[in-house]
Amino acid sequence: MSATANTDKPLLEVSGLSVSFIQYAAGLRQRTFQAISNLNADIRPGEILAVVGASGSGKSILAHAILGILPGNALVSGSMSYAGQELTPKRQAALRGREIALIPQSVNFLDPLMRVGTQVRFSSPNGNGTAMQREIFTRYQLAAGTERLYPFQLSGGMARRVLVATAAASPARLIIADEPTPGLHPAIVKETLAHLRELSAAGRAVMFITHDINAALETADRIAVFYAGTTVETAPAGDFCGEGERLRHPYSKALWQALPQNDFRPVPGSQPSPADLLPGCLFAPRCRLSTLECASAEPALRSIRGGTVRCHHAA
């Protein structure tokens, strides 16, 4: 956890990002899903930013929006910049795989009919893919024969290493790991987290998207708490301590207190459906501090004590 990293200029800056989808329901009636609304985030070189939120809260969509690989029925607004320059769709296409790499969730993201070695070699934009792939496989302790296997033949741990290898083999300076530890054996989770730290130690920025707050705290420099399609708070990992008194947003506090090692007290209620979001603060219906103001006006993003928060009551 390098303190110096925080003083650098952000490599990626996302501000006011909104993503919605149009879908057809019975009788060909159209519905709009607001998957991400007015989201802000930034990440610096050598830093690990964990984006933590409940499963199915649209975290992957954030990753896809940054990469510019959302499906055609998505509407995107807001702005993103990479290395100080506006991230337009055209620039996203140019940077994908070269500057920004994705570590996917599962082995399903590998071509089922292609040997994994070949797939890792594609990460290298210039010719020396084979040497690069072999070197990384050795570093990740993958046996020599692994490169000739098909994805379905990989064990859980091997699959994880191969998926991380696809990013490690690329020259990317920003790596987005989208839920890279879903339901894995603790030993494999530990190994994967160690790989992420290695990548950041080499000066790469790592966005670690996860629902596992413990894994996030163990690895990340900063934590972005994701709720109903937006980041309600961004805080240094060190703020998650004690009773959560250093945290800024009631949802972050509730999340922290819900952990087994703390009070193990669940957050009452559930996330609003992205199909019918109400105006105002998205957390208001579940918030103990909720006032009239919360139900009417969306809280603006404020910087408090080295972090950011979207709450009318934060101080």
Partner: protein, 289 residues
Amino acid sequence: MSDTQSLPIANRRFSRLHINRRQRTVIVIALAAVFLLSLLVGAQFMDEAGLSTSLTERNLPPTLAHPFGTDWLGRDMLVRTVKGLSLSLVIGLFAAVPSVLIALVLALASGLGNKHLDAAITWLADLFLAVPHLVLIILIAFVFGGGTTGVIAGVTLTHWPTLTRLLRAEVLQLRSAEFVLVSLRFGRSRWWVATRHLLPHLKPQLLVGFILLFPHAILHEAAVTFLGFGLSPHRPAIGIILSESMRYLSAGSWWLAFFPGLALLIMVRTFDVLGDNLRLLIDPRSAQE
């Protein structure tokens, strides 16, 4: 904040598009239905005079008086075509109804019966798919000694297996649904479950399956008639019109084949469009593209 405000505008644009799409689907369905109905009804009221032989008006290319031309006996090809299409429609109906009924009964039996019954029905469907449809229809038409009955029986017996497979899959899926399992556990009879639970859910699939069966039935009916099985040469079926036209093609009477075939194509395509749009309305998953 300004970014989020731009969203509702974008949504409005898309929601207008959406209403168009739904309306378009409904309009297409209505138009197709009206076209097919008017074909059926129109043929009944059409002037029979066009079918009388006229020695002065033989082998005329298309003109305003005879848009589809006339044949070697001076009969109006437009009248013959419309009569032929309505005959095909009726035969299609006679073949499609029993096909759908067979498919429904077998699919329900297959889905609700025991494993052996299911295996037997699947095997039976495979059996009817083991021989090319047209060859099987020829065989069945031959067995019935030709005639309209032979053609209808042939088309009926060849078209149930595909629909049965489709409905069976649907029944098997429904069968594992919670409400069906509960009913069975509470001792409801299979018959009760089939009529109260499965049938209502199968209705949309049945309707779409029924309508999509028509184009196949009509094309096969036309094909066997063209080959010379079934309908007598005096009935103006499209297949017969086309098969007769072959003798006059080398003389250059292209309109004898061109228009009746085109009309058949349009009718078959209309059924397809009707079925697909109905399915779109019932099952929006297919509209996500």
